[in-house]
């Protein structure tokens, strides 16, 4: 950071297309025999963490991998359905590294770092080779070659997929590579181990503190570098498509140790989720957006129309996306589809018992293509919908509503994927990089694996090379003993509050505030309200939460208490970040900043930068730093889908 508080992203000089290749050559190397003298900790074993731990192990580093799951194969990457992008251009339809780069920068609404995105596009092709060699069963055509489809509005077919379970298959691939290194002895695997603090010595990350979720034992672990691959923070909304245990704790604790947190207000809403059905709903289920290729979205023209869909005549239906966006119709981008669904529901035209959804109607497609054709395309999704709702989508329209699904914000990292704490790295969804203000479909898997297999294993060596000969900080150093005591105290504090309401109760209430005020559309008044409501509820949480049981056994309420406490602090920062960003871009829509047609209105003059927040202790608000974004290789333009 320079004296004006502007962050240095360490992007190497040179032309965009050559930067990464040249930089790989100019980085310092650790020779093979010396790699075994370095300890590296990797936290999280999703796509990014498992691929990084496996690759570092293959290179010869001594790796310790930590997951709070019972097995590294459970991480939320597993739930990704759609696919993974790569600039292979196998279909010969004009794709290229440059086009994937360009689409990603544009899709991110010009709020990402060009150099990182270009590197991502470059290594995308290696990911497909790697995964295929590992035995990932991607879809193939009748000639036995890999099949591609177009996804999320892309004009080329560059998405590789494995039925509707691409995330599962890629994670199993990374998991098996990881287990191979566990067998080889280069990776020491710690399951059911939750990282609760990052430890620093003389300003540099030197290890972590971990709580064993079964025995409650709190232990220090030291290393020359620490890598956080701990996923996104969508569960701050309580209801999201994220898995139940996804949380921000590792990233947040790193933030409190000095890692800047970037763009927390960039959150992505997915338009095709199943609406909530009751107050005890625990999570939301996403259905692939491929459904919008054949389904027509509508609501009744009349307000409070309680008739069944079939009883509403054609001329009393409002196919509002087709009406407002004749060119793109039901295929407008995720954020546009989502906001329009919110508008019609807010107007009182929502459908379903809670009036909290819009219809996604396959009637016309079934009449046109036949039941069998639709079943062949979407059978799994229709079954899933029926299992959850008890309604048959072949006979009546589905009901859908948007839900939080991915978070583009996260720990700020430089070109080497290092945070503002030396020696501390962040990869995958946990960092802020690459997707800007909006992530394109099928790009999350790509980024997680790019970071883990092909970027971090190179960049980490440049930093470690300087440490040759210095042993890791011993775990009996006072910095570790203090951190262990802090984590133990925290557990005891939750158990001694003895309040009246459960952790889930507070989490659900927090989620309501965050969804209402920092959800699909934000405005100044609402965000300011959030900034009084969140601290008030947080105060109540710390005074009145009830965590029963003890700290020396599996205690799921105790685990959740710490995670929800971090969500409270994050939620406040999200509101402040959203308030300060006086523009609309990607997943961040400020109602004050829209075009006359109701589209997001960017302010490139004042906000073409990353906002990265620095922690100053619980009582002092974070300060906002900037990383300026420059666009030398793409022209900034305004989106339009009319």
């Amino acid at each position: 950071m320079d004296k004006n508080g502007i962050l240095d992203n360490k992007v190497p000089a040179g032309s965009l297309a050559d930067k990464w290749e040249n930089h790989k050559f100019s980085m310092k190397l650790v020779n093979p025999n010396n790699k075994r003298k370095f300890d590296v900790i990797v936290v999280g074993t999703g796509l990014a963490g498992a691929s990084a731990a496996a690759t570092l192990g293959e290179l010869g580093y001594r790796v310790k991998a930590f997951t709070f799951h019972d097995s590294p194969r459970r991480a939320h990457s597993i739930a990704a359905q759609g696919g993974i992008n790569a600039a292979k251009n196998y279909p010969n339809d004009g794709d290229s590294v440059h086009r994937l780069f360009y689409d990603t920068v544009k899709g991110g609404d010009y709020r990402s770092r060009e150099a990182n995105v270009h590197r991502l596009a470059e290594v995308s092709v290696n990911i497909i080779d790697q995964a295929t060699a590992q035995g990932v069963p991607f879809a193939r055509d009748y000639g036995g070659l890999l099949d591609n489809r177009s996804f999320g509005g892309a004009q080329v077919s560059r998405t590789f997929y494995a039925r509707g379970q691409t995330g599962q298959q890629l994670l199993i691939g990374a998991y098996s590579a990881l287990m191979r290194q566990v067998a080889a002895g280069s990776v020491e695997l710690h399951t059911r181990s939750e990282m609760l603090d990052v430890v620093k010595k003389d300003g540099r990350a030197c290890g972590i503190v971990v709580r064993d979720l079964i025995s409650g034992e709190v232990t220090p672990h030291s290393a020359h570098a620490v890598v956080l691959a701990t996923g996104g923070y969508g569960n701050v909304y309580f209801l999201s498509t994220n898995a139940m245990m996804c949380n921000v704790t590792a990233a947040w604790r790193a933030h409190k140790q000095g890692a800047f947190f970037a763009n927390p207000c960039y959150t992505q809403i997915h338009p095709t989720c199943i609406p909530t059905s009751d107050d005890f709903q625990s999570k939301l289920t996403l259905m692939s957006e491929s459904l919008r290729n054949d389904g027509r979205i509508w609501v009744p023209t009349a307000f409070d129309d309680a008739r069944a869909a079939a009883d509403i005549p054609e001329d009393e239906r409002d196919y509002y996306l087709e009406r407002k966006y004749p060119a793109f119709g039901n295929l407008v981008p995720r954020d546009v589809a989502s906001r329009n669904a919110k508008t019609v529901c807010d107007e009182g035209r929502g459908v379903g018992p809670l009036k909290n959804g819009v219809f996604l109607d396959f009637g016309a497609a079934i009449a046109r293509d036949g039941h069998a054709a639709i079943a062949a395309k979407y059978g799994n999704l229709f079954d899933m919908y029926q299992r959850i709702t008890g309604e048959n989508p072949y006979e009546q329209p589905m009901r859908i509503y948007p839900a939080i699904h991915y978070t583009m914000g996260g720990l700020w990292v430089d070109y080497h994927l290092m945070t503002t704490v030396p020696g501390l790295y962040s990869i995958g969804e946990a960092n802020f990089s690459d997707h800007g203000a909006n992530r394109l479909g099928a790009s999350a898997l790509m980024q997680g694996l790019a970071d883990g297999y092909f970027v971090l294993p190179y960049t980490i060596g440049d930093d470690l090379a300087d440490l040759l000969g210095s042993p890791a900080v011993p775990t009996d150093d006072p910095v570790f003993t203090a951190a262990v005591a802090g984590v133990e105290d925290e557990a005891n504090r939750w158990l001694s509050i003895n309040g009246t309401r459960s952790v889930d109760h507070f989490h659900r209430e927090l989620g309501r505030i965050v969804w209402d005020r920092i959800g699909m559309a934000r405005n100044k008044a609402g965000l300011e309200k959030a900034l009084t409501e969140i601290p008030a509820l947080k105060e109540e949480f710390h005074r009145d939460v009830r965590v029963l049981g003890s700290a020396d056994t599996l205690n799921q309420s105790l685990e959740k208490a710490g995670r929800v406490a971090d969500f409270f602090e994050l939620a406040e920062l999200m509101a402040r970040d959203a308030l300060e960003r006086e523009e609309s871009c990607g997943g961040h829509f400020r109602e004050e900043h829209q075009t006359p047609e109701g589209e997001a209105q960017r302010d490139d003059e004042n906000f073409a930068h990353v906002a990265a927040w620095e922690w100053h202790g619980g009582d002092t608000p974070q300060t906002r730093h900037r990383e300026e974004l420059t666009f030398d290789n793409v022209a900034l333009s305004q989106r339009s889908y009319k």
Binding site: Q130, A131, G135, G352, P457, T553
Partner: protein
Amino acid sequence: MSGSNGTTINVTLKVWRQAGPDAPGGFEVHQQAISTDASFLEMLDQLNEQLNDDGNEPVAFESDCREGICGTCGVMINGRAHGPQKATATCQLHMREFRDGDEITIEPFRAAGFPVVRDLAVDRSPLDAIIESGGYISVNAGAASDANLTPVPKAAADTAFDAAACIGCGACVAACPNSAAQLFTSAKIGHLGLLPQGQAERWSRTEAMVETMEEFFGSCTNHGECSEACPKEISLDFIAFMNRDYLKAKVKNRSLAGQR
């Protein structure tokens, strides 16, 4: 429950409670009113909310994705692993599968290889040990050739996928009267053994994985309960594939060793 689609039913829950691996366990009985729209695990969430409000410790049970893909969930429901609905993981089961007045017995997965951690949570780490012993293709990052260099016949790719769909939940083990892990192990051996990329290590992998499996789990006597309980409907054919390959492996690995 305002405006919900479903009706409310009353069920009697007999829930297994056990403080730790070595503690004695027993059933606790609770009455629960629940919307038929709720999922089975949301029903347990509500029970826990109530227990916590009453000053009693919540029931420990595991879940994560709640979409049937991560394999974290899994309990015995009325004696059946993942409950009554076919091809459905515990987290995907909904209360509309039950009737007003039903009694529902909920126990942890029962298997010698899966010790109880607490209440309904068990330790399934032996499944990872089986994968660690050979459930991978040895290719370092960066060492792969172009993905389209080796065509894979679509039929082989599709069948490999059917096996690769396993979510590692362990229901097959829990459902088996012998606590055998043949279905899980054969799913991985089938997945990798059917692909050209998996051929180099096919025989060593099979031998290592089968023998690791036998360290932890019982032997297969062809009951087929595993496949019945499997949420991904992994086929028994993969067990036959594994058994054939294991016999061959015994021969091939020996002759290879002889050449060294």
